[in-house]
Amino acid sequence: MEILISLIKILVVMLVLLTCVAYLVLVERRVSAFIQNRIGPNRVGYKGLLQPVADVLKLFIKEDIVPKLANKPLHRLAPIIAIVVSLSTIAVVPFGDKINLFGYEIKLQIASVNIGILYVLALTGLGVYGIAIAGWASNNKYSLLGGLRSCAQIISYELSMGISIIGVILVTSTLQLDKIVEFQHGWRWLILLQPIGFITFFVAIFAETNRLPFDLPEAEPELVGGYHTEYTGLKFGLFFLAEYANMITGSAIVVTLYLGGWQFPYLQSSGLPEFWTSIIQVGTFAAKVGAVLLFMVIIRWTVPRFRYDQLMDLGWKFMLPLSIANVIVTAFIIYLFE
């Protein structure tokens, strides 16, 4: 029975995630149109709501072109790695507390791993492979440059990301993501206890998901399309999907670590029936993730791209010292008060 429940949870989460990806693309296009004073896609379905379906259908029936001199097995492997890595991170994110359905108590998290935070860190490190392999296997100098940039960028920002997480671990003294959310009940959100850690972590998430202002791996004016220049059809679609799925998991992790996860202040003491409390908690989580995603989309259309050396300077000379200072100060405060 437990295996069945897990399978259903995986199925539901994957379906929701993929639907959200499709609609996140639509949101991105509509918001960008709004910011640039255009109309945006509004013809397919009511207000363009069926646009994602049309997009996916288009990607399905496009021709798949593989360059003659590309390394074929690796060229095929790269999008698979990218998508597997970006979809498996969501497994440890708690999107609610517990819910009673048909007499079973179901924990609203696919896997409560003892070292959930480290699992997230390890998987973001793996994200490099899809892009790097794609860049190398395409046998195209623009792709290779994009892949190399991505390697350097992700490795540099992974440092400040990991070190900002140490602040969270120091405060909550656990590595389990669901325990971290439990710690943030009421208004004890970690963004209030760890404001600097939140900033460094959030900036690192932008860099890890290759979002503007850090989208150097695919900077189209200089690199044509970066690492996915030589990808067409569904393979390109997989990279696209991986990028947006990364955005969603990235903001889900920001919400889990710093914005209280599914916690809704004073909800537990309001005396609502248990079932509705659970539903509101899941809704709270979804709303917070949506807000963070909207913020990411708006940032993309308002801030220009960094130059490569500016990116490295920001990562190594500013974000890294800042996050280390945050850890030291946090450790001191905890030592003094306990």
Binding site: L118, A132, G147, L148, C151, A152
Partner: protein, 169 residues
């Protein structure tokens, strides 16, 4: 055969096969990529042994750090990729001597060492991260610090070498 056994043989097969590809492949980039699968399979074996922290550290350091650096090097030095590496046998006698010495040492260590075996656990795995952390900060503090100092020295050395080349230009 239980599920654990099947998983063990699955990971063990991947580890052995991909490790032999690392050694026998003539294309250096294939070697580097199959090393990725070796590391993964070893991490899987750690998970089967309930060593969750070790498994994640394996992924974090070897797959996320060291192997990326190796791939970086291979991809940047473009000429390496097209050159076939020699994997034929040269100088059989010294090679056999050295490998048998290494193998003998390893087997000797394996048989002589008094391995600490934990009692068999049933039920949910016990988290290991806390125990490992406490050991590092108490019993094994000196080796832990020495290792970090050595890494720091390597880092400074690399920075100095890289700088000097730039000035020479």
């Amino acid at each position: 055969m239980s599920l654990i056994d099947i998983l063990f043989y699955f990971f063990a097969t991947i580890a052995v096969v991909s490790a032999s590809i690392v050694v026998f492949s003539r294309n250096i980039i294939y070697s580097a990529f199959s090393l990725l699968f070796t590391f993964f399979a070893v991490a899987g074996l750690y998970v089967l042994l309930n060593a969750d922290f070790l498994a994640i550290t394996q992924l974090l350091i070897y797959v996320g750090g060291i192997l990326v650096l190796m791939l970086f090097g291979v991809m940047l030095t473009h000429k390496v990729v097209s050159v076939d590496m020699k994997t034929g046998t040269l100088k059989i006698l010294p090679a056999a001597l050295i490998t048998s010495m290494i193998a003998g040492t390893l087997i000797g260590i394996f048989t002589v060492t008094d391995w600490r075996v934990a009692p068999l656990q049933t039920g949910d795995p016990i988290p290991t991260a806390k125990g490992i952390g406490e050991m590092f900060m108490t019993t094994w503090l000196l080796p832990f610090e020495v290792a970090s100092v050595i890494l720091l020295i390597a880092l400074i050395g690399a920075a100095i070498i890289a700088r000097r080349e730039k000035e020479a230009k």
